[in-house]
């Protein structure tokens, strides 16, 4: 028996109000792509001379930044590495803290305390980074340097990350990472708390009824179900950490001539955003182009990290597909 031909189905909005809404939403959706594209495009145009003067790989990974030489040298390798290092360590410190805070608020704290804590955490997320930078400089640096010295003295001998023979523990990637962590903990924990509150309470009950402990239920049921959402929060935070300018500028020595691969406690490091802040004021025209080029590199790296992370989220959560 033959089957009738398929009919046209009404997938588009039919009513006027609906049509307008549809058009607005569509425009807003596409405009985000357009805006990102335009930003990248105009940044790249302004930065183009810098890329023309030298190989982009050398620019991104080479060392040295000096406008007094002839010809001037503009390479951002140590800054780029520093940005990644500080953001990564910041995230490593922040994630367990943020998850613990979110867990406490959502599952342990009595209602009134949970409500107050939520407000406080969200307020912390809104502190301007210049204020955090000043706090880092004026309040935290001496304390952090003291911790760093204790760590260095105790463990520096066997753990290469923690060795330091420069004699000073100030203005190090360690201190910058902690300032960054303080900045992003509220961000991650705010997102995580929201995700936790959406975990189906029935599956938590199911896990407890099977003899789950608080720890095992968190690890085997709550975290796996919320991993995608938490990672989204971590990415937001990573973006903020990579782009952080003022706070890091206040607490870190920028060293252009050599990579500090992993000596976290030594007073030398880098961060692209802080480089831009540090140099922009007195930059020569040629240097401005190089700084814009640094901005392009930062932008692209951030996009790549986001793309990788969303790929991971998708891979790791087959049940979320479609």
């Amino acid at each position: 028996m033959s089957v009738p031909t398929q009919r046209k189905l009404l997938a588009k909005p039919a009513r006027t109000a609906d049509k307008i809404f549809f058009a607005v939403a569509k425009a807003a959706g596409y405009s985000s792509f357009v805006i990102i594209g335009l930003i990248l495009f105009f940044l790249s145009i302004r930065a183009w001379p810098a890329f023309e003067r030298q190989n982009i790989l050398e620019f991104a990974f080479g060392t040295g930044w000096d406008n007094t030489l002839d010809p001037a040298v503009f390479n951002i390798g140590p800054m780029l590495w520093g940005s990644l290092l500080i953001a990564a360590i910041g995230v490593v410190i922040a994630v367990p803290m943020a998850i613990s805070i979110a867990y406490f608020i959502e599952f342990l704290a009595p209602k009134p305390i949970a409500k107050t804590a939520t407000v406080i955490v969200d307020l912390l997320a809104a502190i301007p980074s210049v204020v955090l930078g000043l706090w880092g400089l004026g309040v935290f640096t001496p304390v952090g340097a003291h911790w760093a010295q204790m760590l260095g003295d105790a463990l520096g001998g066997f753990i290469p990350f923690l060795s330091n023979d420069t004699g000073t523990y100030l203005r190090s990637p360690f201190i910058a990472s902690i300032v960054v962590a303080v900045m992003i903990v509220p961000l991650i924990s705010s997102v995580t708390r929201e995700i936790f509150s959406q975990v189906d309470k029935e599956i938590i009950k199911g896990a407890l009824a099977l003899g789950g402990t608080r720890e095992s239920v968190l690890r085997r049921v709550i975290l796996p179900t919320s991993a995608g959402g938490i990672l989204g929060g971590v990415l937001l935070a990573l973006g903020r950490a990579m782009g952080e300018t003022v706070a890091i500028f206040f607490v870190l020595n920028l060293v252009f001539d050599e990579y500090n691969w992993f000596n976290l406690l030594e007073p030398q490091g880098g961060a692209i955003a802080s480089l831009i802040l540090a140099r922009f004021g007195e930059a020569t025209p040629e240097e401005v182009e190089a700084l814009l080029a640094a901005g392009v590199v930062l932008f692209v790296i951030t996009l790549i990290i986001n793309a990788i992370a969303s790929y991971i989220v998708q891979k790791a959560q087959p049940w979320r597909r479609d």
Partner: protein
């Protein structure tokens, strides 16, 4: 002879200041199915949760009385609630398989969650699924996500998951109320097989179901904002065909609730 497998003695429950269960005394003999029936809101779910200490996880929950498993108070000072829940399994109204785990992982999830290690974990998957009478349906797709199963299959997976812990007692709170008649019948058959090896307590709103599967029945009632209590408790046949209390008679014959 007061040797019951599980026994509730003067169980009282409060939520905040509200007294919702008063002096419930029930005995659950080994290898029998006991049905808890009664109108909505009379405290059946609340009571069944006191039997494996899930009750205390509700904020503001209060409790008085004793629950004895093999004569020992599960609320005793030295008793770890986690051990209680390992011995006394629970199946919920809404199927709640773990969405991030495969069918197989769901079956052995209890071992992981409670930190028990069994050398025969592989056999355990098959054994538990067989006992929950769903092995043949899923044996070729053990690594599929549990939520790819139908609602009835998910509920039997939840039963299998409890069985993998080898519990002495299985508590079920309206396990079939979200399921179609076919799935319901299969779960009832499973319950009748399981009672050979354990003690079962089941809450149900389905009078036919209570008669089909239970040996004893307890009728709960909460009248006019008074705390819920047991009106009548006895052999299922007697509760349905010769109830002593007129309120039981009205309820089982569908005249209220």
């Amino acid at each position: 002879m007061a040797n019951f497998h599980l026994e509730a003695k003067d169980v009282n429950v409060w939520f905040g200041a509200r007294h919702v269960l008063k002096n419930v005394n029930l005995q659950f003999p080994e290898n029998q199915v006991t049905a808890l029936i009664g109108p909505s809101g009379c405290g059946k779910s609340t009571f069944i949760r006191t039997l494996n200490r899930m009750h205390e996880l509700i904020p503001g929950a209060g409790f008085a009385g004793e629950v004895l498993l093999d004569g020992k108070d599960i609320y005793g000072e030295a008793v770890d609630p986690v051990d209680v829940r390992i011995k006394i399994g629970m199946v919920f109204q809404k199927p709640n398989p773990f969405p991030t785990m495969s069918i197989k992982e769901n079956v052995i999830s209890g071992l992981k969650l409670s930190g028990i290690s069994r050398p025969d974990a592989g056999d355990l998957v098959e054994q538990s699924l067989v006992r929950a009478s769903m092995w043949n349906e899923v044996k070729d797709r053990l690594n599929d996500p549990a939520i790819s199963l139908s609602g009835g299959q998910q509920q039997r997976l939840c039963i299998a998951r409890s069985l993998a812990m080898d519990p002495d007692v299985l508590l079920m709170d309206e396990p079939c109320s979200a399921l179609d008649p076919g799935s319901t019948r299969r779960i009832e058959e499973t319950i009748l097989e399981l009672k050979e090896s354990m003690t079962i307590v089941i809450v149900t709103h389905n009078m036919q179901q209570a008669q089909r599967i239970s040996d004893r029945t307890a009728f709960f009632l909460a009248e006019d904002n008074t705390p819920g209590h047991v009106v009548e408790f006895g052999e299922t046949q007697q509760i349905f065909y010769g109830p002593i209390d007129p309120r039981t008679n009205e309820y089982v014959n569908g005249r209220f609730g």
